[in-house]
Symmetry: C2
Subunit: 111 residues, 2 copies
């Protein structure tokens, strides 16, 4: 079962674009904070905006992109819109990345 943790470039050759698109979406601090807020659980646009101290308009713009990329899902409750993470993979990705950036510089004086 070759599903350990090895990335096979041949198999992803066509997927690279897809991957890059999603990574690009996560490559913005505002969007990443939005994602993190939605990972915690369903949250309204207004609450996200308040939490990030930014305008609902900006948040909505980003939410559209994140929803289109299937990173988030939207559900309506009354006149509010609640967004939450689409699946657990995103949390895994971020978790692994946290482990990466959290690692001490392997050799700091090699530079």
């Amino acid at each position: 079962m070759p599903g350990h943790h090895i990335v096979r470039p041949e198999a992803t050759e066509d997927t690279v674009g897809q991957l890059a698109d999603v990574f690009k979406l996560m490559g913005d601090a505002t969007r990443l904070r939005i994602i993190l807020s939605c990972i915690e659980g369903p949250i309204s646009v207004g609450d996200i905006a308040a939490r990030l101290d930014s305008s609902p308009s900006l948040v909505s713009h980003h939410l559209r992109l994140l929803k289109a990329a299937r990173l988030l899902r939207a559900e309506r409750r009354g006149k509010q819109m609640f967004y939450s993470a689409m699946d657990a993979h995103i949390a895994c990705v971020i978790d692994d990345m946290v482990a990466h950036v959290g690692e001490p510089t392997e050799s700091e004086e090699t530079d």
Copy 2:
């Protein structure tokens, strides 16, 4: 310290910028292909350029960014420079992301 798979925004509040920076680097198809090539093992700049069918100059520009972000490491062999992945976290991140984009659309007719 619960290292399951849960991302805590409070703890990463200051790290979000770091995370976004790395994600942004991976958010470019050319750079992602470079990373994938380096994950396979140490590879020279020329070989990467040939593999991606792009100029050594462009590859070198990207390699500098990736090295600065500690995604890749550089080692000199003769007059060539070999780059390889810094640690295994990157492969994990990409692997998780492949799982995400590879997932069938949960509800395709909801749209």
